[in-house]
């Protein structure tokens, strides 16, 4: 039972962390110390924290590598924008519209996850990394030539150009090729973001703590033994991957509906790697670490704007340093000792 308590403790620590962040931001807003640039960062921070949690489910818990999670974010984002824009006139209440958009974004991203996952996850090895890398690029290019508009007759779609949509003159463009979504009504809000983040945390932590999560971790640790113990390996890898894709999709919706324009190139390979950096820096499999890393690394570039040119360089260096440090026997031994000491102190 001691172990169960430890898991529950980390879970509550994570909920607490979100609560503290929420309260701190609310206080800053009430007292007026909140700068405008930080205020504009709130939704991106939450979106990237959710992305980090989603990717950690694949990389940390399931032990697979995904190099195209921005692709799922993109699928979710543009689905969300299309849904929210086309419901603009029929559903007045923006929280309800946001909810429907998030659900739709999560659903399409999940479908994309299933389409990729079913063939790839039957194979062992690192195929997932290669295929997700390709997926991210393909989605970016498809979105780059996607034109969607809405008029009184309904939705129009084309992969050619805006004219071939054949819309009525009163029609409204939603997606405009490489320019992406324009004229989005901002309906994401800070409180909605916090609620989504909490729901995502509940889903991931409860999943990992259940029979399903145990099976996913067992397959990560030893696939052959997992099969010999009667686990359906493909099924559990797929559950982890599709759940992660759906969550990434919902993060994309939250992100996109916070801006008036979003271009497809926002969700490119660099974004995928950025999210991977959050996960690696936070400690693979460590949800608390991933959340903190995502928040800090989203805010930091904004604060270090004058050193923008060196940002990617610093990322590379930090990644290498962290990898060396976490694989260093001495550092590991130090942490092991500390943990043992804590366990003794508790027991």
């Amino acid at each position: 039972m001691k172990k169960l308590d430890k898991n529950a403790k980390t879970a509550f620590l994570n909920y607490g962390l979100v609560a503290v962040f929420f309260v701190a931001v609310e206080i800053m807003m009430a007292t007026g110390v909140m700068t405008n640039s930080f205020k504009g960062q709130l939704i991106p921070i939450i979106s990237y924290v959710i992305m980090a949690l989603a990717l950690n489910l694949v990389v940390g818990i399931s032990g697979e590598l995904s190099l195209g999670h921005a692709g799922f974010m993109s699928v979710g984002a543009f689905t969300g924008v299309i849904v929210a824009s086309s419901l603009q006139d029929s559903i007045g209440a923006s929280p309800l519209r946001l909810l429907i958009a998030i659900l739709a974004g999560a659903l399409t991203a999940a479908i994309a996850g299933i389409v990729i996952g079913i063939p790839v996850l039957r194979l062992g090895g690192d195929y997932l990394a290669i295929v997700t890398l390709a997926f991210g690029e393909i989605i970016k290019n498809v979105m780059n030539c996607m034109y969607v508009g809405v008029d009184s007759k309904g939705l129009h779609m084309s992969l050619m150009d805006a004219n071939s949509l054949g819309m009525e003159p009163t029609g409204r463009m939603i997606l405009n090729g490489p320019m992406g979504a324009t004229g989005i009504k901002k309906i994401s809000g800070f409180i909605a973001g916090i609620i989504l983040l909490l729901i995502v945390l509940v889903i991931i932590q409860n999943l990992v703590g259940s029979r399903t999560g145990r099976a996913i971790k067992a397959i990560r640790d030893n696939r052959i033994a997992a099969e010999a113990s009667g686990l359906n390996v493909t099924k559990y890898r797929l559950i982890a991957f599709v759940t992660s894709a759906a969550i990434a999709g919902s993060a994309g919706v939250l992100y996109a509906l916070n801006y008036s324009t979003v271009a497809p190139k926002k969700f490119d390979f660099n974004t995928s790697i950025l999210v991977l950096v959050f996960v690696v820096l936070g400690g693979i499999g460590n949800m608390t670490g991933a959340m903190i890393a995502a928040a800090v690394l989203t805010v930091l570039p904004e604060m270090l704007r004058q050193f923008q040119d060196y940002r990617m360089l610093v990322y590379a260096i930090v990644l290498i340093v962290v990898m060396i440090a976490t694989n260093n026997e001495k550092v590991k031994a130090l942490f092991a000792k500390k943990e043992k000491g804590e366990a003794k102190a508790n027991g």
């Binding site: 039972m1 409860n206 999943l207 029979r211 640790d221 997992a226 099969e227 009667g230």
Partner: protein
């Protein structure tokens, strides 16, 4: 359970080739319910390959494997386990980063009844089933007096305890036939002695058949009711421990031809 007379495991003309090399050929055995059977032979004789065939890690090139009278053809390792064969591995394969208790719970996995959704929403069935699994896991660990290690990370256990945990995990899947691949490897004489008693205890309490590969002859001769000897992928002798000990072919396989 099927008719008592049907053997729990029967193989007919079982064989496998790797390229041009015939690793196992004409392997015919029967394992009765509740029997402890030994599988011995010199290094490289094909013993572990036979286990891998029985659990479908390898696909047989020819022959049949009947489990309780049912053909296992086309089954995956996962299905074979559900059908009733559990195993341990020569080179230990635990879920290193999971705790001892979680390792056993993976064995119990298919006997824990709640869906992923129920787990995420923490519905009542999650709590009752997890509680049941927790108690069952401790009960199984008690066979080897390991329940006080339940919270330890499996990868950090001493070697002997890891071997025992593998057996517990295999038992948790509720098999009809348990395959043990060198269970006493790396154990000292007193640990081996204890393991022998435990293997007997498992057979008596669970009423399952056990087939084991082992190089420790004291253990093999001590607990196996029947022994199969293989060399170069073929059976060279079958019989009781006494018969095997005096079999000329077996002596030759292990020690070489007598000179003069």
């Amino acid at each position: 359970m099927a008719d008592k007379k049907t053997p729990v495991l029967e193989t007919k003309h079982l064989g496998i080739d790797f390229g041009g090399l015939t690793a196992v050929d004409e392997f015919n055995i029967e394992v009765e319910h509740g029997e402890i059977k030994g599988l011995i032979g010199p290094n490289g004789a094909g013993k572990t390959t036979i286990f891998n065939l029985l659990t479908k890690v390898y696909k047989p090139s020819r022959g049949m494997i009947l489990l309780d009278g049912t053909d296992t053809q086309g089954m995956t390792p996962e299905k074979v386990n559900r059908a009733g064969i559990a195993r341990t591995f020569q080179n230990i394969r635990l879920f290193d980063k999971l705790t001892v208790e979680e390792n056993v719970k993976i064995g119990l996995h298919n006997h824990i009844n709640y869906s992923s959704i129920e787990g995420v929403l923490r519905l009542p069935r999650y709590w009752s089933e997890e509680k049941k699994a927790h108690e069952k896991a401790l009960e199984l660990l008690d066979i080897f007096e390991m329940s006080d290690m339940a919270g330890d990370v499996a990868g950090s256990l001493p070697y002997g305890a890891q071997r025992r945990l593998e057996i517990v995990r295999a038992l948790a899947t509720e098999p009809k036939l348990l395959l043990l691949d060198e269970p006493a490897a790396g154990m000292n004489p007193s640990e081996t002695e204890e393991l022998m008693n435990n293997i007997r205890k498992i057979r008596d309490e669970f009423g399952i058949a056990i087939m084991l590969i082992e190089h420790d002859m004291k253990l093999v001769m001590g607990i196996c009711e029947n022994i199969v000897v293989v060399n170069f992928g073929k059976i060279i002798a079958k019989g009781t421990p006494a018969e095997i000990q005096s079999n000329d072919d077996v002596i030759e396989a292990y020690l070489g031809k007598r000179k003069g």
